[in-house]
């Protein structure tokens, strides 16, 4: 334990004060309910991967694959015809493509955020949800990447964006926000994968060891010979698959020491990274001189919005999983409460930014700026503005009420509303400013084409496909970290707690 010089010199007066310490009791729900022991946690999480896929998984997977094919069709259509098949036309040259990009990137933020910021803030409740959220991040980045990639039109030249010596003998142009995006999003994707993978190493070791143990025990109680040998081959596959990925992890104290430090550092690196990525996405808009885009609060406002939508998505995914896999002891009401409260907080920050934008648009006394905001609220896209405002600012206000937070299905519906609202936020920002720019004669109205709709709808399928694959093959929760927050892991006291409940 940390040695402290001031500790050694407590005088009588201090001791008298310390003797008076009598904390009031505060009821707080534990992070793993029902006095579960280590074995239960290991089994609960590993069985998700090790048992046969439940029927609902196959159903969801089929639906997801069919939906994902929409994106494929949309993209084939686009590449074979040209980027004009999207509803992009003067003056709105950034339509759904950028809206969807920012939407998905925003969703992607909660993952690394839950892991990183909550890790730095020592929020123990992160453990049950961080793995799934990180996976969500990576898959959302994959979905997000599609849109700017294909928006460049000649997608086969997209590699010109990277600093490789290229066919035109010129280098990428670092003064362009698009180039910043390339670096930000690819760094974000890469670091998220590293973070995700590193967090998974100990759990992959667990899955590896369990497969080896089952193989050496050789007991497979299945209904038929065929099923038995299938189960055995699955374990052989697992042995090698997890064996390679676990990199020889041995759960040694020394391993954990370096691992924890590295994890903390990655969390420390990811936090400014999360901030920077959506900041840079906001620069895409804010460095322009277009009214409604050029406003200095964009960076923190986009970040808050991203976190908001990210948590919305985590709730959307975790609530059904909790019910389907019976994870109520691991994802407790306390977890849901906390996530609801973060939605409330970030939703309100977003509200603060909406109002601040309006106020400064007026205070700045720039007629174009004022018009842009009046136009948002009362112009041709006011319907989108109202959807955005009510979903993002008013919906989460319901989370003030405990009864709402405790009603899982209501929370789930609200989390979907949050996602809808955040999509509309990006729509409002992108489209309203462009549709009514400085030159009234060129004003227009944007509508997506069928290809836009296909491509966007399909990304939900792509996202679900990847997420379902994750559920199937990788540990859903960090086993080691969940054990770490359980009372049995405390090296001081609570001895035998774990064993008794067996």
């Amino acid at each position: 334990m940390s040695s402290d010089t001031t500790n050694n010199s407590i005088d009588a007066g201090q001791q008298a004060l310390l003797d008076k310490v009598a904390p009031a009791t505060l009821e707080e729900q534990v992070l793993v309910t029902n006095n579960r022991d280590f074995s239960w946690v290991t089994n609960k999480i590993c069985r998700i991967v090790e048992s046969n896929a439940p029927n609902w998984w196959w159903v969801c997977m089929s639906v997801a694959l069919v939906t994902a094919s929409f994106t494929l069709m949309g993209l084939i259509w686009l590449v074979s015809t040209g980027v004009g098949v999207w509803g992009l036309a003067n003056p709105i040259n950034w339509g759904w493509a950028i809206v969807n990009f920012v939407f998905w990137i925003g969703i992607g933020h909660a993952g690394t955020l839950i892991s990183a910021i909550l890790c730095l803030l020592k929020q123990g409740w992160r453990t049950s949800i961080n793995r799934a959220a990180e996976a969500m991040t990576i898959f959302a980045v994959v979905c997000a990447g599609i849109f700017p990639l294909f928006h460049v039109g000649r997608v086969w030249f997209a590699w010109w964006l990277f600093p490789l010596p290229n066919a035109n003998l010129i280098w990428p142009q670092f003064r362009s926000p698009l180039e910043w995006d390339v670096f930000a999003v690819s760094t974000y994707g890469t670091v998220s994968v590293l973070f995700w993978y590193m967090g998974m190493i100990p759990d992959l070791g667990v899955l590896r060891d369990r497969a080896v143990q089952r193989l050496s025990a050789g007991v497979y109680e299945e209904t038929s010979k065929l099923r038995e040998s299938m189960a055995r081959y699955a374990d052989v596959f697992r042995k090698y698959f997890y064996g390679i990925l676990a990199m020889g992890w041995r759960n040694a104290g020394n391993h954990w020491r370096n691992y924890e430090m590295a994890y903390l550092l990655l969390a420390g690196l990811s936090t400014p990274l999360v901030l920077s990525v959506h900041t840079i996405v906001s620069f895409d808009f804010a460095v322009a001189v277009l009214p409604g885009w050029h406003t200095t609060i964009f960076p923190p406002y986009f970040v808050a919005g991203a976190i908001f939508s990210g948590f919305g998505m985590v709730l959307t995914l975790m609530l059904p999983l909790r019910a389907l896999y019976g994870l109520h002891d691991l994802i407790t009401q306390r977890h849901i409460d906390n996530m609801c409260k973060i939605c409330l907080g970030t939703g309100s920050i977003v509200g603060y930014a909406y109002i601040m934008e309006f106020f400064i648009a007026w205070y700045g006394a720039n007629p174009y700026e004022s018009f842009a905001f009046i136009n948002r609220a009362f112009g041709q896209y006011s319907w989108a503005y109202y959807i955005m405002f009510s979903c993002n600012v008013f919906t989460p206000q319901l989370f003030w009420f405990k009864a709402v937070r405790e009603n899982a299905s209501l929370v789930w519906i609200m989390s979907i509303l949050i996602n809808v609202g955040m999509w509309f936020e990006r729509f409002v920002i992108t489209v309203t400013s462009l549709a009514n720019d400085f030159l009234p004669s060129s004003w227009g109205y944007y509508s997506p084409t069928i290809v836009d709709i296909f491509t966007f709808a399909g990304t939900f399928g792509l996202f679900s496909t990847l997420f379902l694959m994750f559920l199937r093959f990788l540990p859903l929760m960090p086993i080691g970290e969940i054990k770490f927050v359980m009372p049995q892991a405390d090296p001081h006291g609570h001895s035998d707690d774990g064993k008794e409940s067996q």
Partner: protein
Amino acid sequence: MSEEIYGMVASFKDTPSLYHAAEKVRDAGFKYWDTYSSFPVHGMPEAQGQARSKVPIFTFIGGLTGLTLGTAMVWYMNAFDYPLIVGGYPFFSPVFPFPIMYELTILLAAFGTLGGMFIMNLLPQHYNSLFNCAKFLEVSDERLMIAIEAKDGQYNHEATKQFLESIGGFDIEEVKA
């Protein structure tokens, strides 16, 4: 064929006893030994007498490399090799390429961290003698272990066994290399 010995493992019943046993092994002066648990134990590095992890050094080197690389890259590509007039910006300035420099700093620092973790842990090491021990695999579930390696100068079959027993170890067995 005389088989070589990797070391000796002993199990412990719960976290506090592992923790206190680790303190005793440390105080007994062993060098090549380690604790094994499927979760990090709070304060275990101190109990094992280990210093603060060196991973931050790798992170720092990675970050510094990234920053230098980012700056040099933007300068070389946009100001030296192919200057191009865009939007009235200067060819090089620390302002506009800041996102690039920043992202590369983070990227390489992250690689440095992960690499540092692997290097400091001497991983990947897909083969390890400890995996030969069937009980060792149960560490993944809830077994808690201490292993003392044979290459430690103080290692002695009988004495070490007695020592491990005396600090509360059970299921003691020798692991072959």
